[in-house]
């Protein structure tokens, strides 16, 4: 997947001016947040349920290495093949070789963020292997060659006439329609034939259960079930943090994931796979390949301050409440993950130097942290990333600070412990600021839609001392 994180500001501007995106952002995100809140009330004690979920994720991440080994052992015992990929290239090559070895004519995919991260579609395209996304939203954006707009609804912002046009051009739809149901029907008919004849299906993994070697997926459409039921070969790609210790934990986290994602108690389908089909079974894959993907995560794990990000279960709750996302939507994040979690994961996986606006453009409002069922403190980690960037951290590829930034912060810290200096400098600073012309970038940024505050004749301090 192309990395476009550096065009954050221009993309954001474009999105804020787009009526289609605006409609979705203004209307749908608050609705999603509201249904989430309603969904959570179906827990007998919502707060206790959240605390438990957070504890499960903390403990799972804490025991990551051990749990992955247990998972591998049990998955292999059940007949699955487990492949460890250190990076996207290894995972992609493994899948490509599998496709070639078995002369697979085309592959189908269930919705998965992880294969977006891998850039798998591009690799298979180069291999001349057609790939069909089968989640309705993913299918639409694949045809339109657009990135996902939102983790739950990748194409939720696309106007129906645009979908109609591309379906007629590329998905065999006969006549134009702007009815979502008719459009969905057309996609169903087109993809049904692919399911019918598919030989290799690719899915992500929502949870991997160490104790049983099982993988779990949640969905509403049924496309993931097809990808896990119809083909001869199933490839399921999991980022290594998807692990939970046992089935009880998996069930609790599934309850949490569904309520936080869509407000449902449970999505239409939840499937738990333990090994490939057994002898005598009519369907299900003959081969089940599970790819455990690192792609930078073990390095994130190494630092206990960034490790917490691996607790994420990709429910999307943080995205829906983020006031910045509510203005700009998903495109500006420029890579696989959007919203507050994208502000953390994209920089940690891609490097701080080319993702500055992701951890920069945040007001630290804590809406994300408040709703997170996995216990991630996004704002604290954003601050940590800012700190690492200024410190030119070699592991996270920080850029370092500018001379002006260093001068400002050192001067401020010097004056902070010297009240007389501080007061003189602050007074002088604000006086100078008040004299800055409207052409100064700081002033013009502020006065874009605001007035410039005038400087009162006396500070509070002066007034207090000489009332």
């Amino acid at each position: 997947m192309d990395v476009k994180t550096q065009s954050y500001v221009t993309e954001a501007k474009k999105e804020m001016a787009s009526p289609a995106s605006r409609t979705f952002l203004d209307f749908f995100l608050p609705v999603l947040s509201a249904v989430r809140e309603i969904g959570m009330t179906s827990f007998p004690d919502p707060a206790a349920a959240v605390e438990r979920a957070r504890a499960i994720r903390r403990s799972s991440v804490d025991r990551l290495g051990e749990l992955l080994e247990t998972f591998e052992r049990n998955a292999v015992k059940a007949g699955a093949r487990v492949f460890w990929a250190e990076n996207a290239h290894e995972a992609n090559i493994y899948i490509r070789d599998l496709v070639n070895r078995h002369r697979i004519p085309y592959v189908t995919k269930g919705k998965s963020m992880i294969t977006e991260e891998l850039g798998l579609n591009e690799v298979l395209k180069k291999n001349q292997t057609p790939v069909y996304e089968t989640d309705l939203g993913e299918f639409i954006i694949q045809l339109l060659e657009k990135p996902p707009f939102h983790i739950i609804g990748p194409a939720i912002n696309i106007p129906t006439d645009e979908i109609s046009r591309v379906f007629m051009e590329k998905a065999g739809m006969d006549s134009a329609s702007t009815d979502p149901v008719v459009l969905g029907q057309a996609a169903r008919n087109f993809l049904r034939d692919k399911f019918r004849h598919m030989r290799l299906g690719i899915t992500g993994v929502n949870m991997a259960v160490a104790e049983t070697g099982s993988i779990l997926n949640v969905e509403n459409e049924g496309n993931i079930r097809f990808n896990k039921s119809a083909p001869g070969i199933q490839v399921s790609v999991m980022s290594l943090e998807k692990i939970v210790p046992n089935l009880d934990d998996a069930l609790h986290m599934t309850r949490m994931l569904c309520r936080n994602g869509t407000g449902q108690k449970l999505t239409s389908y939840v499937t738990l796979d333990t090994g490939p089909r057994k002898q005598g079974e009519k369907d299900g894959p003959e081969e089940l390949h599970i790819i455990i993907l690192d792609n930078g995560r073990s390095r994130i794990y190494d630092d206990i301050k960034t490790r917490e990000v691996l607790q994420c279960i990709r429910c999307g709750a943080c995205i829906n409440v983020c006031p910045v996302f509510r203005q700009i939507g998903g495109y500006p994040y420029g890579w696989a993950y959007t919203g507050p979690i994208g502000k953390l994961l994209n920089p940690l996986l891609l490097g701080l130097d080319r993702t500055r606006d992701l951890y920069g453009a945040c007001t630290l409002c804590k809406a994300c942290k408040t709703v997170c069922p996995a216990g991630i403190d996004h704002p604290s980690m954003i601050l940590y990333l800012r700190n690492k960037n200024l410190a030119a951290d070699p592991v996270l590829q920080g850029e370092g600070s500018t001379f002006a930034e260093r001068l400002m912060s050192k001067t401020a810290a010097f004056a902070a412990t010297r009240p007389r200096t501080w007061n003189t400098a602050a007074r002088l600073g604000s006086f100078l600021a008040s004299k800055l012309g409207p052409c100064h970038p700081l002033v013009s940024a502020w006065t874009l839609k605001r007035t410039f505050p005038s400087l009162p004749p006396k500070t509070y301090r002066d007034l207090r001392k000489h009332p």
């Binding site: 942290k369 700190n387 401020a412």
Partner: protein
């Protein structure tokens, strides 16, 4: 009743909005609270901390503790400065147990203004009066960082002649975020315009906030785009007595 209460006045109030500090003084005086203004105070260091300069922020924290730790209570008319002291300071000293302890001791004694009135003094009715409808904006650091959301509403409701009305998406960020407002002006102003719209839609005569940053942001936006629509700090509001304009 605590016997030594200190005022911590944020830079924004000291330099740009001194009347908020004066309103705090008057309200406290009305409630017979004797407060002192420690002359050596400077700044909580939030600006450098939020930029990512943690080392520099430690100088601010150390100085703050030196100045304020002898007091029984520290009161501050800003949620974010209070949260900085209460929640960020201890985490700044993870590698220095002695300083961390000092920071933790301080954390229990620093209060945002409305929190101090309601939770510490047990006051609900401050004797304020304002005739009209009032909407309250939940500033991020007050509501989510400090858990202060009911206290200001309690105080507003108790004001004579005041009807508290609902502000849609009232706890959504107004888009200030310190440096954010000038680093990402397009996003920031889109956010503040959404907040202003909620205020207009609420039918309120006045918007009250507990955070000087939000006040500056929303206030200057309203001044330019909806002149006449007023926003006040909670201290200014509680300072209102009999009029519709407390300033």
């Amino acid at each position: 009743m605590m016997n030594k209460t200190a005022l911590f006045i944020p830079c924004s109030v000291n330099l740009l909005l001194p009347w908020i500090g004066e309103a705090v003084d008057r309200v406290l005086k009305r409630l017979d609270v004797v407060s002192v203004y420690p002359d050596r105070q400077t700044c909580c260091g939030q600006m450098v901390y939020n930029k990512g300069f943690f080392n520099e922020a430690r100088s601010f924290a150390t100085h703050f503790l030196d100045v304020f730790e002898s007091f029984d209570a520290v009161v501050c008319p800003s949620g974010s400065c209070t949260a900085m002291v209460k929640h960020r300071y201890p985490s700044l000293f993870d590698d220095d147990p002695k300083m961390k302890q000092r920071a933790l001791d301080m954390a229990g004694r620093v209060f945002e203004f409305s929190q101090y009135l309601v939770d510490v003094l047990g006051v609900t009715d401050t004797g304020a009066s304002f005739s009209g409808k009032v909407a309250y904006h939940d500033s991020c650091h007050l509501s989510r960082d400090l858990g202060v959301s009911l206290q200001p509403r309690t105080l507003i409701r108790a004001a004579q002649g005041t009807e508290l009305v609902v502000l849609n998406n009232g706890d959504q960020c107004c888009g200030f975020g310190g440096e954010f407002s000038v680093s990402y002006p397009d996003i920031s102003t889109a956010m503040v315009s959404a907040k202003a719209q909620s205020y207009l839609d609420s039918g309120a005569d006045l918007l009250v906030v507990g955070e000087p940053g939000c006040l500056l942001n929303i206030g200057t936006y309203l001044e330019k785009n909806h002149p006449g629509k007023q926003v006040l700090h909670i201290a200014e509001f509680l300072d209102c007595q009999g009029g519709e304009n407390g300033r």
